[in-house]
Symmetry: C2
Subunit: 326 residues, 2 copies
């Protein structure tokens, strides 16, 4: 199941997931090249790999630039295609940038693969956000796609380009639909990746966690190490090619329960309920729980880190590193 | 059900459907403005409205240009948003142009509406092509979307932007998914709109119709006058807002039957079976029949023109006008 002695390209590799993946792949003895734009509103942060800079090639460029990707993709065995605009609110305020990154750049990457490296294996990181408000729970891959924001629409296009280039051009690609992922090196400045980021920041700064609405909305969370296991499976298992798989967790919980577990880790911390801001209310989807049994039964993947344990590790990381993340 | 004394904007208005719609709306006493790029590979043709040039405003511009749309959309009551790249093969050879026109320009148009004319009513012309290879027949709107080309992926994004701007920003918009549409003023130079175009051209030029494969693939066809009835319904009925509707026909038939009916209209004409070209084979979807009962039962729409009658009218038109269409 592991990748070793391979050449691996990671778009968004200075970000939360990309940098944790890079660390694992370096540990496994791979040659890792990272593409990251370091756009301030996104997840890229040089701190994420500061201790490994002599073991990784960092290429600062934007996936919207087709020329650098054309060259960087050559001779790579794997591409973990993680670069993306992730903020739902930003996608509504600036829909064109979201389209350029989440749709058009994906076409560039696939065209580059087709022309310069048709034997590459690609994993595309998508999001459960594309389902919109659930019609039933847990949400499986057959659930209709009803995105509630421009980001969701463009992520669907990104997924479909990957599957199409597999079907028509034979590019080996698979898609994982991620739920809320958390862990060391996540963006905590704001809620652009997940609300858990800003909750962690507030806890560490001694501010109360603000829970929107009645706090009863349920969510599922993946610790980043479990996600990385899934990414490596999706890249290396032949029968994952051409597939779309939900990820998820066995312990979904309400936002209030989430806040309580998090507060338990830091003495003197607190949370409270606040009304939904208008812009958040418009795109809120209520309860959301992913059915990940398709991926689990096909490949034996199961999250190993429960939320209480993962959040403890995350808070420890950010307590030591907070100055680099706010 | 009719629109009269309104201001109407039609993107792609010099094209096949747009020009027929413009003719009808002028007849009903509306003030019609047309946007068309006249890109040679697309459907725009000045001949389509040559006899009505003093009764319509023709603005030659490209929907990819957001500035002209920003101005043109002001004070319009209705927008029939028909401009699009329609060729499936072109979308595979040049996926970026397809994305710019079928996805990005749609965002521009919707942003222009939101900023400059939020009370406008919009109908977006989509395509049954987004369903891909049918999993069951007839194909209703709940059928999964599995596009077999870049065009289909980008058309899905275009649809979803329209529905999202309805849900989030209150822009009144509806979506029709068109099947093969034919009639006077269609593009017949090549198969970029539908294979029926090139079949008509060959018949008129005295060449045999080439039917790909075994000719048993079934299709449904709408005569353009029936489609225009549907577009006007979708624009004017309040309960169509926010909806997606298939169109279709009560008389689906095989390609061989289609060829026979067409040959019947022109003495001495003939058809034959030829193997699928490779690039066509890759994106062929087999039988395709649309279930249009949702639109039909909600609004009483039913195609009035049978294929034999519609193709007769079409051939008569092109026999008189052939020099302007090849």
């Amino acid at each position: 199941m592991e990748i070793s002695n391979k050449k691996v390209l990671i778009t968004g590799g200075l970000g939360f997931i990309g940098s944790n993946l890079a660390r694992r792949l370096i540990e496994y003895g791979n040659s890792v090249t990272i593409v990251d734009s370091l756009i301030p509103e996104y997840g890229g942060n040089l701190r994420n790999l500061h201790d490994l800079r002599d073991k990784v090639v960092v290429n600062l460029s934007d996936v919207r630039d087709p020329f650098s990707i054309n060259e960087l993709i050559k001779k790579q065995d794997y591409l973990f295609n993680l670069a993306g605009q992730t903020s739902h609110l930003d996608s509504m305020n600036d829909p064109f940038t979201d389209l350029e990154i989440n749709a058009k750049a994906q076409l560039s990457i696939l065209e580059a693969s087709r022309k310069n490296n048709p034997d590459i294996s690609i994993v595309f990181a998508s999001t459960r956000q594309i389902y919109g408000k659930p019609q039933y729970l847990p949400v499986d891959e057959k659930h209709p796609l009803n995105p509630v924001d421009v980001n969701g629409i463009n992520k669907i296009a990104g997924e479909q380009y990957h599957l199409l280039y597999n079907q028509v051009h034979g590019i080996r690609s698979s898609v994982l639909r991620l739920t809320n992922t958390y862990g060391p090196r996540m963006r905590i400045k704001d809620a652009r990746q997940t609300f858990l980021g800003v909750w962690i920041k507030n806890l560490i700064k001694g501010k109360p966690i603000q829970v929107y609405g009645d706090g009863q909305q349920r969510r599922d969370y993946n610790y980043v190490d479990d996600l990385i296991d899934a990414l490596i499976i999706a890249a290396t298992k032949n029968n994952a090619i051409g597939g779309i798989y939900n990820l998820g967790a066995p312990d979904p919980m309400s936002l209030t329960e989430t806040a309580k577990i998090m507060c338990h880790e830091i003495a003197g911390s607190s949370w409270n309920l606040v009304p939904f801001p208008e812009d958040r209310k418009a795109i809120d989807v209520g309860d959301f729980i992913c059915d990940y049994s398709s991926f689990s039964s096909a490949f034996g993947w199961e999250p190993k880190v429960r939320f209480a344990e993962g959040i403890k590790k995350s808070l420890e990381y950010f307590q030591a590193e907070i100055e680099h993340y706010i």
